[in-house]
């Protein structure tokens, strides 16, 4: 008996509220499914059945009463400190009530597990983690995306219907794209951030939901935002399309699927497509990387770098040491670029409602060699993905990744970005896109799920 496991997040909540689904049965079935499917995926790195049962027993009759969710290893729980996917963090970590935990608890949701993530949040692929890599349910030899690798793999494999991730440089949108999910990077400051080890210093990181579709993201993000993200009508949507490498240096099938999706969205909303120019994009991408990397260095000393945990990956150790070499003038100029990009975007959003481009330029790369082949040549997935993902983090605007196609049997995704505070519009636009394509892509399931149990 599936006990509601394959219902959407909102369907689970509604069925429980109506008395048609027993939340205790749902919790136990969810824990059993994690035990059954997770060994092949490594999406969930910790479960705590007794804590989850206690959480359910104490849950208020609130919007997500009884709904199981997982949370990224970036957030502390009262009974478990975050590990940030790493053998060692550069900041103190201890158990506690993080903002997302409180929001979930107060909404009646049940945290059933901690989800894997890319080590130190420093990668778009999810192939490096102290727990070992999470695997993409669409093809377990492929990257699930990062850094919210486990949240995405958990939802794609239907371990749970919703997951909480975090996005500092695309870290919700990349895994949403690779795993065929919808993932919203909220406007900076709008979603719960308390308890994050960088909450006081980061100007790029936000919490956010990864779910199968936009309506589920709306439900879960409403909880994280602490306010109802009301649905609206995106009729007459003005869609901006950026030229250049972010739209053109893209795998042909990804480009075609995204161009088709933009046209479908235009038709569905009775809107229009306008070409826009964002000459600062390349500089903004670098600025984001420099700022995000340097904001984490407050507690770093050379002595500390000389005694890094040997279990930290060589890649992680090397990148931490490299960050010290970034010249101060570059980070100062990066802040100026941020100002410039924000001013340019403010002007652009007077003329368009959303900016559309592929979320990632190619489908999920192999775990063993996370590189992608683009018209310009072969690039690391990180170098390719950051081109489209960074701008929203640098400037604070919201962005959403929506599945819009398939290539090589793997999901393809479109990113939509909107002006500050227009998170609701992005959800409206994502739902319009779902209507336009008959929900074909949000309802697609990884083929391996047909042959359960998955073999490790």
């Amino acid at each position: 008996m599936s006990a509601g496991l394959d219902l959407s997040l909102r369907e689970q909540a509604a069925a429980i509220a109506a008395g048609d689904l027993d939340p205790t049965q749902l919790l136990e079935a969810t824990l059993a499914r994690i035990e059954e499917r997770n060994p092949a995926l490594n999406a969930v790195v910790a479960t705590f059945p007794e804590r989850s049962r206690e959480m359910l027993a104490a849950a208020p009759r609130a919007p997500l009463f009884g709904v199981p969710v997982v949370i990224k290893d970036e957030w502390p729980l009262p009974w478990r400190a975050q590990r940030f996917g790493a053998a060692e963090m550069l900041a103190p970590a201890e158990p506690g009530e993080s903002g997302p935990y409180r929001a979930l608890r107060d909404a009646g949701a049940v945290v059933v597990g901690v989800a894997n993530m890319h080590e130190l949040g420093a990668g778009s692929t999810g192939n490096v983690s102290v727990y070992g890599p999470a695997r993409n349910p669409w093809n377990r030899d492929r990257c699930p995306g990062g850094s919210s690798s486990g949240p995405a793999a958990s939802v794609a494999a239907r371990l749970v219907a919703g997951a909480v991730g975090a996005d500092g440089v695309g870290s919700i949108r990349y895994p949403a794209a690779y795993c065929g999910l919808t993932g919203l990077k909220p406007t900076f400051g709008r979603s719960a951030m308390a308890g994050h080890h960088m909450a006081e210093v980061s100007t790029t990181i936000v919490s956010g939901a990864l779910c199968a579709d936009a309506a589920d993201c709306r439900a879960l993000d409403s909880v994280l935002f602490g306010e109802e993200l009301a649905a609206g009508d995106p009729r007459g949507l003005r869609i901006g399309v950026i030229g250049g490498e972010v739209s053109e240096d893209v795998a042909p099938e990804v480009r075609e699927a995204c161009e088709n999706a933009i046209e479908e969205l235009r038709r569905e909303t009775g809107g229009e497509v306008r070409e826009i120019e964002l000459p600062e994009l390349a500089a903004a991408t670098l600025a984001t990387v420099l700022i995000a990397n340097c904001e984490s260095l407050g507690g770093v000393t050379p002595e500390r770098l000389n005694r890094l945990d040997p279990e930290l990956s060589p890649l992680g150790r090397g990148l931490l040491k490299y960050r010290v070499l970034v010249p101060a003038i570059a980070t100062i100029k990066a802040e100026r670029v941020r100002t410039m990009a924000r001013q340019t975007l403010a002007r652009i959003f007077e003329d368009v409602d959303v900016i559309a481009c592929p979320t990632v330029p190619a489908v999920a790369p192999p775990l063993e060699a996370p590189v992608v082949e683009l018209p310009s040549g072969i690039l690391t997935a990180d170098a390719a993905n950051v081109r489209s993902g960074a701008l929203a983090n640098l400037t604070g605007i919201p962005a959403i990744s929506v599945p819009v196609g398939s290539s090589e049997g793997l999901p393809v995704a479109l990113q939509l970005q909107a002006a500050w505070g227009r998170d609701e519009l992005l959800l409206d636009a994502a739902e319009a896109l779902e209507r336009a394509n008959g929900r074909r892509w949000v309802e697609a399931s990884p083929p391996a799920l047909d042959a359960e149990p998955l073999e490790a």
Binding site: T203, A282, L286, R317, K321, L325, P327, R336, R338
Partner: protein
């Protein structure tokens, strides 16, 4: 000589100047990161930003104040 050609000398010397130790694998990672990021950093350094007023303590949840 191209700036990137200084990498082999620059990386170990710069780390040593900070008193940071690195094994061969870490050095290879640092070199790779440097080779990837240094060309765009040089482009950034060439950018004259003197006429861009710094948005002091920007509220990233909002559009910048109109000027």
């Amino acid at each position: 000589m191209e700036a990137s050609e200084h990498t082999d000398d620059f990386i170990p010397a710069a780390l040593a100047a900070y008193g940071i130790e690195a094994d061969e694998i870490e050095l290879a990672v640092v070199r790779a990161a440097h080779q990837t990021l240094w060309p765009p950093i040089l482009e950034l350094l060439d950018l004259d930003t003197s006429d861009i007023p710094l948005e002091r303590d920007p509220d990233l949840s909002q559009a910048p104040p109109s000027r």
